[in-house]
């Protein structure tokens, strides 16, 4: 399903090219058979196949609190990529090693619904990888300190289940998931709970609710490098398989890094890996500033 926005640059890219012909039908075939050349022709003209400029990010919208069965929820769209995050709290006993700590359990699911490339069944490699990054990010940046989740010392603590489900997978799932989680955490309200010594049960109030005590809120920005020449922010699902190098940077409110990850050969022609990483960092700073404003407005 080609976006109408993309038609114009597509036509431009083909007019000047020495392609077999310039009818839209053959553009569609060319796109499928020679994805790398297809992308490269766009980039040489300064555009991406979805119609944005090379260094542009996709539009983001955030909607919070629409799922009533969750304690907190968010729905975010990043271009066509759509993620829903729901947060549910349950009560458990703390472990013997850490009597004064609750549990935070983040998971990302990329179900078969969201893309033709995924199969039904347990989480695949990609989903497992993202879940681990997300867990690392939340733990290392102390977004939700486990010590803030204690109901009664050694007896009862909160378990915060953070579940992110992708509905439409058009690339850059990790950035979208992180944004969805942060929006949902800020939307979460837990009931006031008290531990009853006699019955050994935890009783929650029906009326008194309070927000989570959140630490820093990191947000992530991802990039891909095409053909060792072009640095592409926010890659789509069409571009992703063509990008051998990917970089993700997550920054907190003070623009301090919480997670940096580069997979594949760094650097572009004429620039060292460090310089490219520095460049992505400053691009990420700008983008995350915008994202924070959108996040603030959504609450």
């Amino acid at each position: 399903m080609a976006a109408t926005k993309a038609d114009q640059p597509a036509a431009q890219a083909f007019e000047s090219s020495a392609g077999p012909s310039s009818t839209p039908a053959s553009a569609e075939v060319f796109k499928k058979l020679h994805p790398s050349q297809y992308l490269s022709r766009f980039l040489n003209k300064g555009y991406r196949p979805d119609g944005r400029k090379i260094r542009d990010w996709r539009d983001v919208s955030i909607n919070v609190g629409s799922i009533t069965t969750a304690h907190g929820s968010s729905l975010i769209r990043m271009g066509d990529t759509t993620m829903v995050c729901g947060i549910k709290a349950e009560v458990a006993e703390p472990t013997a090693q850490s009597l004064n700590e609750g549990y935070v359990v983040p998971n990302i699911d990329l179900p078969a619904l969201c893309s033709p490339n995924f199969k039904p069944g347990p989480p695949g490699d990609e989903a497992q990888t993202y879940s681990n990054w997300l867990n690392d990010l939340i733990v290392s940046s102390r977004t939700l300190p486990p010590s803030s989740l204690v109901i009664s010392h050694g007896k009862a603590v909160w378990v915060i289940y953070i579940d992110v489900v992708c509905i439409n997978y058009d690339g850059n799932a990790f950035d979208a998931a992180v944004l969805a989680v942060m929006a949902a955490l800020q939307n979460t309200r837990l009931p006031k709970a008290r531990y009853d010594e006699e019955s050994g049960r935890t009783i929650c109030s029906r009326t008194e609710m309070y927000p989570l005590q959140l630490g820093s809120i990191p947000l992530s920005c991802s990039f891909g490098i095409f053909d060792s020449t072009h640095l592409l922010p926010d890659p789509t699902s069409y571009e992703s398989p063509l990008l051998p190098t990917t970089i993700s940077i997550a920054l907190d409110e003070k623009n301090q890094a919480c997670l940096i990850r580069q997979e594949g050969l760094g650097g572009t022609q004429g620039k060292s890996g460090e310089r490219v990483l520095g460049e992505t960092w400053s691009l990420a700073e700008e983008r995350i500033k915008e994202l924070r404003e959108i996040l603030q407005d959504s609450i």
């Binding site: 399903m1 729901g86 549910k88 349950e90 359990v105 078969a112 619904l113 347990p122 009931p191 109030s205």
Partner: protein
């Protein structure tokens, strides 16, 4: 007690229980239905939109009462051997862990299989599977929010029909579902809410092809007089016709938004 350890997910504590709330001051009393915003024979309003999932061949999203479901259809696409003269219909229902109260832990959730069966049965007569030898049509439903199971089935059927039609797969008709209960006061209630269902003496769930005037599926439980059962079936069919109108309208709007052409697929 510990079940097989799930290595594919971030570990959670072995046992955790949903919050227990303070008892309510007054229990809501059971009595004749007191619907204020709609009549007993009226279903709740439906929001239905097609084509939201760009990666899929066809998709739909429905909100009805306390239910939110996204559905996508992939196919017809090539199927692995053995050869089948007819297309194969695969349907999977998945509840998001946060979609119900209490939370549905992955792997421990057994309900979707029986629901998938019911939906598949209702959809097979609606699709012209004989046109797709060696192919499969994969339908995935993701429940984002749910109240009662029966509402999930009837809304699920409606949204699946819309997604199949949106994918341009030839159908005999649009299959829609509806639920009717009768309560202990002998009232017949169409599209019951969760608290009304608790008070039921009998429940009827049907799948209908309203355009052809055919039933695809009927599931009745509880204790009912024959006359009452027939009356319930009639009411359910009437309700499905209304849903059919909404469904057809949203398909039309979806097609118009895309300029009524199948060229860009």
């Amino acid at each position: 007690m510990a079940t097989a350890f799930d290595r594919r997910r971030i570990p959670a504590p072995e046992v955790s229980i949903p919050p227990i709330y303070e008892p309510l001051d007054e229990e809501p009393e059971a009595g004749p239905s007191k619907r204020v915003d709609r009549g007993n024979e009226e279903a709740r309003p439906i929001f239905l939109k097609t084509g939201l999932i760009s990666q899929a061949n066809g998709s739909g999203y429905i909100e009805s009462g306390g239910v939110k479901i996204a559905c996508s259809v992939y196919g017809p696409r090539p199927k692995a051997p053995p050869y089948t003269p007819q297309g194969t219909l695969n349907l999977e229902i998945k509840f998001a862990p946060f979609a119900s109260d209490p939370r549905r832990a992955p792997l421990r959730d057994t309900e979707p299989i029986h629901l998938s069966q019911l939906l598949t049965q209702s959809l097979i007569p609606a699709i012209q599977l004989e046109q797709f030898p060696k192919s499969s049509i994969d339908i995935y439903l993701l429940i984002l929010e749910s109240d009662s199971t029966s509402n999930v089935i009837s809304s699920g059927l409606t949204v699946a029909s819309s997604a199949i039609a949106d994918a341009g797969i030839p159908m005999n008709g649009l299959s829609t579902g509806s639920i009717v209960i009768s309560n202990k006061n002998g009232q017949i209630l169409v599209d019951p809410e969760e608290n009304e269902e608790k008070d039921q003496s009998g429940k009827l769930l049907i799948g209908v092809l309203p355009a052809l005037g055919k039933l695809t599926n009927l599931y009745m439980e509880g204790e009912l007089e024959i006359d009452q059962a027939i009356q319930m079936i009639e009411q359910a069919i009437t309700a499905s016709r209304d849903t059919h109108t909404v469904l057809a309208q949203s398909l039309l709007e979806g097609a118009q938004e895309r300029g009524l052409s199948g060229e860009d697929d």
